[in-house]
Symmetry: C2
Subunit: 142 residues, 2 copies
DNA sequence: ATTACTGCAAAGCCTTTGCAAGCCC
DNA sequence: GGGCTTGCAAAGGCTTTGCAGTAAT
């Protein structure tokens, strides 16, 4: 086990879960891949971890909001996106699956309006834009 | 087969596919459910349609951009969202998994800004808020 | 009349479960 | 040391496939 752990590993521990080598291996694989991998890719990246433990780790990470399964155009299985702390906004290129992150969303006014309208208490949000990145625009258009 | 068909059914026909009773049944089930259903729910809603045909219809609808599979918080299987107009916005109650839809997002200015900033051509977006619905707020807070 | 499409059922694949052993705390 | 967690393998469940019959055009 490594001497230092990522902030996400710390969140695991803070939530009362043990920092096992299996969980750390899956977490490091996610962070290494910048987080839009399928379970199959993750299984390949962690050959020393049992399949069941990979799935159990993904389930745990999902419940702790460390990752989020999402459908990125092509695949028939979910891809797991790392959720950075705070805002989670991406732009997805539907041609090459590139993910661009951005921070400014200016959604706080809308969030407050929705809280009032529906009587909800909102804690966070996810915003994804879909389109084509510069490379793919060039490659697929006149 | 019904005498009149929805605009989506027309898109099917325009794309060169036959308007079969199986496809219409699945499409009507999607429209009736406002489109947050899993394949399992869809299978229940179309007892007269063979399972394989339901899956084949969903695959076809996905390729035609009539629906979009998405992971909404809870389920381990995708939920199929009807894509009416490019906007897909929900509020998810993280306690009871209730889903509330809303239409106004005012994200067009942001979308245009991001297109300029990253050189992308954006076609659509997904916005999800996470929180607690009125019932669950009452139930879980002092 | 053509041929795309359906339905059934079996095959296929990914994911989950059960349980003894192992490791974190 | 206690008990959460792992790993293996088998079970499980959803999805896909093959093929002959059926229906849309």
């Amino acid at each position: 086990m490594a001497a230092t752990h990522s902030a996400r590993a710390q969140r695991l521990r803070d939530a009362g879960y043990r920092l096992t080598s299996a969980r750390l291996a899956v977490l490091e694989a996610l962070e290494r891949s910048q987080g839009h991998v399928t379970s199959a890719e993750l299984l390949q990246m962690t050959p020393d971890v049992g399949r069941a433990s990979v799935y159990r780790a993904l389930d745990l990470f999902t419940r702790l909001a460390i990752v989020r399964p999402a459908w990125l155009q092509d695949s028939s299985t979910p891809r797991y996106l790392l959720l950075p702390d705070g805002h989670h906004h991406h732009i997805l290129c539907t041609a090459c699956d590139r993910v661009i992150d951005f921070d400014d969303c200016h959604l706080e006014p809308l969030q407050r309006e929705l809280e009032t309208r529906y009587g909800m208490r909102l804690r966070g949000h996810l915003l994804e834009f879909y389109g084509r990145c510069p490379d793919c625009v060039d490659r697929t258009e006149g």
